[in-house]
């Protein structure tokens, strides 16, 4: 473990990501003022996905981690996605 290199992220990048997260938060509130009907939830989720991506990659350093860590995180999201899809197999056909 001691031989591993630690990637040092410049403060400037953290700051840019922070600004992006704040902007996306305001945007996700703003989008609710537009009548999107069935797509309202989808729009909110879209913003949430982009924000999660930024947090995972930059704040949690996934971007600089080894591939197997990325695969493990990807696997977790795949499981989550499958659970959602299966649950909706009930809702769509009930």
């Amino acid at each position: 473990m001691s031989g591993e290199k630690h990637h040092i992220v410049p403060y400037r990048l953290y700051f840019v990501v922070l600004i992006a997260l704040l902007a996306l938060t305001f945007a996700s509130v703003w989008i609710t003022s537009i009548e999107l009907r069935d797509y309202t939830v989808a729009a909110a989720l879209l913003f949430a996905i982009v924000k999660s991506y930024l947090v995972l990659n930059y704040f949690m350093h996934l971007k600089y981690d080894k591939p197997y860590i990325k695969i493990m995180v990807g696997f977790v999201f795949a499981i989550f996605l499958v659970m959602i899809v299966i649950t909706f197999l009930d809702y769509l056909y009930r």
Binding site: M1, V76, I79, V82, M83, I86, T87, L89, D90, Y91, L92, Y93, R94
Partner: protein, 536 residues
């Protein structure tokens, strides 16, 4: 693979910064934490057994026998909550995972020892919260351990502390899983490649993933129930536009994988015991690993088979039924591999071996009766009957419970440095096994004939089966007393045990009994030809 003996104190007698009781409840030594879990879980198991005996006594005759219907509702709820959240879910991972995992991979401790201690404290906090629900407020919870909506937010009983207790217990489980995942990834000794890991470690790895990914789902679900109860937010309540079936989806997304949290480490313990007492390389090592991971993965996707009669869509029912049948395949692979390992082995018939083979026997019956429940047509007939209770207890008690007893008899000399009385241990197993069969087998028949579960009364035609079942509960309790008395006495007064009394090949048998504080004098190194089951 041999390591030199440590001259220093063993973990049982070691005096660190704190002495006496504080030296235990503030210890970050994985072995001491494992023992803390053992004593806590044994206490809760005994409580659960007493509640179970009370239930069976109530069912000795039709009508009221010793308690009112409402009391019966509370008793089966508390029995379920204790046995699921406090005994079988933490059971093997928290006790034997903590005691053995670091030693089996050649590490000195888990990756996060303080987090490990926090896990135990959270477990204790969760236990006290649930106990508070029993003793204070408006009466014990009476919804069943599943806390089904809408009853869980309509009932006037004391639900919030019980729900919060289950939530805290979930946190304990998540932290243990996280700790084990990192430990297995990062702290393996030199030469301990993935394909040299003992199978118990592999099953802990699969279990840890489930603990980490599935437990938060039930955590947030229970929070939603609490919000529904306090603020009436209308997520599950149909009167407010909510969907009670959504609760069942969310609950079983966790609680079905939780069955695999219970059974996978049990299978891992059996996979250690069978080759040791056959003195033979485990048959199909890679197939057992693949089946472990397959069970862990497919186990995520079958939760809907608990809901076939709940009003779920037909499409979802077909899907869940199909996947339920698929998950039976890796389970069967394990059974075939264990039996193939026994074939032409040098069988050493000792107490852990008795427990292990009886595990295979009852697990087979439990598994095959599960297929009856996984098939859509037959499930409608036996759903919510005593058949389900019999199947579930054959799997969870017969599976996880028997494996737990197998594991404690297997690792007892390593944990305590003393050997138990083998004659009494064998007697305890025999009495327990006979009691188990007499207790649960009649329930298959009763369920097939239509006796519903969770009723304190029944029709006269079910009387015979219930008498036999209640009698079985007394026999089982007698066996349990024999086992506990023998183990407790032997832990204090048993003959000193050798470092490797069963001639095992995994790393824990290379250190003295009981193990030294830091497990190894020097980090062990595995050579190319070393392996966990190299008996040839």
């Amino acid at each position: 693979m041999q390591t030199t003996a440590v001259n220093g104190a063993n973990y049982l007698t070691y005096q660190g910064k704190y002495k006496g009781l504080l030296g235990w409840i503030l210890s970050t030594d994985h072995k001491r934490i494992g023992l803390l879990y053992l004593y806590s879980i044994a206490t809760m198991f005994t409580t659960g057994v007493l509640l179970g005996l009370a239930m069976k006594f109530e069912l000795l005759a039709p009508g009221k026998t010793i308690m009112e219907a409402q009391t019966y509702n509370s008793v089966f709820t508390v029995h379920g909550v204790i046995m699921i959240f406090m005994v079988v879910v933490p059971g093997l991972p928290a006790v034997f995972g903590n005691l053995m995992l670091p030693i089996m991979i050649g590490a000195r401790d888990v990756a996060f020892p303080k987090l490990n201690l926090l896990s135990w404290w959270l477990y204790v906090a969760g236990v006290f919260l649930v106990l508070a629900a029993l003793l204070f407020g408006k009466g014990s919870p009476d919804t069943g351990w599943t806390f089904y909506a809408p009853y869980s937010f309509k009932t006037g009983t004391n639900m919030l502390p019980a729900i919060f207790g289950a939530f805290v217990l979930g946190f304990s489980s998540i932290l243990t899983g996280l700790n084990f995942l990192v430990t297995i990834h990062r702290l393996r000794c030199k030469g301990m490649k993935w394909m040299k890991l003992p199978l118990f470690v592999w099953t802990l790895y699969g279990t840890a993933w489930i603990q980490l990914l599935a437990t938060p789902v039930v955590g947030i679900t229970l929070v939603l129930v609490a919000l529904e109860r306090v603020f009436g937010v209308g997520i599950f309540d149909p009167a407010l536009g909510g969907d009670p079936i959504l609760y069942q989806h969310l609950f079983w997304i966790y609680s079905h994988p939780a069955v695999y949290i219970m059974i996978l480490p049990a299978m891992g313990a059996i996979s250690e015991i069978i080759p040791t007492f056959s003195q033979k390389h485990i048959f199909g090592y890679k197939a057992l690993i693949a089946s472990t991971m397959a069970i862990a993965f497919v186990g995520y996707l079958v939760w809907g088979h608990h809901m076939f009669t709940a009003g779920m869509s037909g499409t979802a029912q077909y899907y869940f039924s199909l996947l339920t049948f698929i998950v039976a395949i890796p389970s069967a692979i394990k059974v075939f591999n264990w039996i193939s390992t026994l074939y032409k082995g040098s069988i050493n018939v000792q107490t852990p071996f008795y427990w292990a083979v009886s595990f295979i026997f009852v697990f087979m019956i439990g598994g095959l009766s599960g297929l009856v429940l996984g098939a859509l047509a037959t499930d409608v007939h036996v759903h919510d009957t005593a058949f389900v209770v019999a199947h579930f207890h054959y799997i969870v008690f017969g599976g996880t419970g028997f494996a737990f007893f197998a594991a404690i008899h297997y690792w007892f000399p390593k944990i305590f440095g003393r050997m138990y009385d083998k004659a009494w241990a064998n007697t305890g197993w025999l009495v327990f096994f006979v009691g188990f069969l007499a207790l649960y087998t009649p329930m298959f028949y009763l369920g097939m004939m239509g006796m519903p579960r969770r009723y304190y009364d029944y029709l006269e035609e079910f009387h015979g089966g219930n008498i036999l079942s209640t009698f079985g509960s007394w026999v089982l309790a007698t066996g349990f007393i024999i086992i506990v008395v023998n183990l407790v006495r032997s832990a204090r007064k048993g003959a000193p045990a050798e470092a490797n009394p069963w001639h095992g090949k995994t790393l824990e048998w290379t250190v003295p009994s009981p193990p030294p504080v830091l497990n190894f004098d020097e980090e062990p190194v595995l050579g190319e030809k070393d392996g966990p089951y190299n008996y040839e």
